[in-house]
């Protein structure tokens, strides 16, 4: 009986509904601290938290708060407890109950490809929105070739996309040594015999061979069509590098976000890098065209997602509206980026080690290390 009345819904489907602004009522049955740390967000999402262990004997606390006419999705960490609660709710007479397949674990891993634009040389640029974690990666496609920037760990989703678009990977590029997620750049490059590019200043301790990113050493995708131009922009890390693509887009990594700026403390030396960060944001970026479209490696709030889920902003507009670009006083800037920062991302030191090749966690350990929000911006809470 109950099996017919509860359905599973995938992370992809939930993402679609959020991007289409469809009403979604979510009952999150994880414990309070996990819920307050990190949850599903969206402009059209209404979400409540009642831990499953408060519902073991009696569903009334949930029934009292759920609108009877709405479709609801029950969510937990992996899915076991949400199936249990969803079945009980269906038993209690609710008609439209489903549960999130794979729980927050699969929510954290879904990548939604969003087309940024066609490029002048006939290529295309895509942004991959990791909606559950706030990470953004990019794929440049041109003449049967592809390059991926800031590849996330779930490389099978890029593989599938490349197959569908009949392109072969030639480059993976990381803007910096990531501390909030495990890079899939090296693993994916190995599979396709592609080159993996890293900023040398971030890669001094890595245990593997890589291509050094350097200003003036452009990277080509497709037959001399799309130029990926590295610009050294330290601050979040000492090696952080931005990329200009097709003279129109600037990929800013974790240096500049749409509504915030990167934090300089994740490698343990905020004081030293605060000056670099200021020079990059208030100096190097100021010299670039205000018409460039900023494509960052993260978003902090779901409200930063624009049309179709795309996260982007005009550089000139960011200079007037982004609070991180409007701190005139240098000592106040220093305070903002070194004091009262949000908590550091989950397992960030272990993640840095994995990205340097010093440790090789298995798939389950990698998942566990990445659970939770990213918190790479100074204004994340």
């Amino acid at each position: 009986m109950t099996a017919r009345r509860t359905q599973k819904v995938s992370a992809k489907e939930v993402t679609k509904r959020i991007l289409n602004h469809e009403d979604l009522f979510i009952l999150d049955v994880r414990n309070e601290s996990d819920f307050s740390d990190w949850k599903i967000e969206g402009n059209s999402v209404e979400i409540i938290n009642i831990p499953y262990f408060d519902l073991l004997d009696d569903m009334r606390p949930a029934l009292d708060k759920i609108p009877a006419d709405k479709e609801i999705v029950v969510v937990c960490a992996k899915e076991g407890s949400s199936i249990f609660v969803a079945e009980q709710l269906a038993e209690a007479g609710l008609n439209h109950v489903s549960y999130l397949e794979g729980g927050m674990k699969s929510w954290s891993e879904h990548l939604e490809p969003v087309k940024v634009s066609d490029l002048s040389g006939g290529g295309e640029l895509y942004q991959f929105v990791r909606i559950g974690k706030g990470c953004l990666s990019y794929m440049v496609l041109s003449n049967g070739e592809a390059a991926i920037i800031d590849t996330s760990r779930m490389i099978d989703q890029y593989e599938q996309f490349m197959q569908e678009n009949s392109v072969k990977l030639v480059h993976t590029i990381d803007t910096h040594l990531h501390a909030d997620h495990i890079s899939g750049g090296r693993a994916l490059a190995q599979m396709y015999a592609a080159s993996y590019h890293l900023p040398p200043k971030d890669a001094q301790e890595v245990t593997f061979a890589y291509e050094e990113l350097a200003e003036g050493k452009d990277i080509t995708v497709g037959q001399e069509t799309i130029k990926v131009q590295p610009i050294y922009t330290p601050g979040h890390t000492i090696g952080s590098t931005s990329f200009i693509i097709d003279n129109t887009y600037i990929l800013t990594g974790d240096i500049l976000f749409i509504e915030s700026i990167g934090r300089p403390d994740l490698a343990g030396i905020a004081e030293d890098w605060a000056g670099d960060l200021r020079d990059t944001l208030y100096g190097r970026y100021k010299e670039l065209s205000e018409e460039l479209i900023v494509l960052p490696a993260h978003f902090g709030k779901i409200t930063e997602l624009g049309e179709g889920g795309l996260v982007s902003g005009r550089l000139g507009t960011l200079f007037s509206e982004n609070p991180g670009l409007n701190i005139e006083d240098e000592s106040e800037f220093r305070r903002t980026v070194t004091e009262s920062l949000p908590p550091q991302p989950h397992s960030y030191q272990e993640i840095r080690k994995a990205n340097r090749g010093e440790i090789t966690p298995n798939k389950e350990e990698q998942r566990e290390m990445e659970m939770g929000p990213n918190r790479c911006a100074v204004h994340d809470k």
Partner: protein
């Protein structure tokens, strides 16, 4: 640490460790101590939160070879 009863929830996924813990706790008297063994990482935060919400006292926790151990005193 001494306990009056042991719950073996090793290898079980949520919600089973807490379902079993709750059932065993119902059989104890106030002041008695229940020992829980679980391997699911999520059980750690959940048992802590569950104890707090029910008023039982989480006396101690330990981790040995991937097994999480909890000692909970009944309210």
């Amino acid at each position: 640490m001494n306990s009056d009863k042991i719950v073996d929830a090793k290898g079980m996924a949520c919600p089973m460790p807490i379902v079993k813990t709750k059932k065993s706790m119902d059989e104890l008297r106030s002041g008695q101590v229940l020992e829980v063994h679980a391997t699911d990482k999520g059980a750690k935060n959940d048992l802590t939160a569950w104890a707090k919400s029910t008023g039982h006292e989480l006396l101690s926790t330990a981790e040995e070879n991937g097994v999480y151990k909890f000692w909970i005193k009944k309210a």
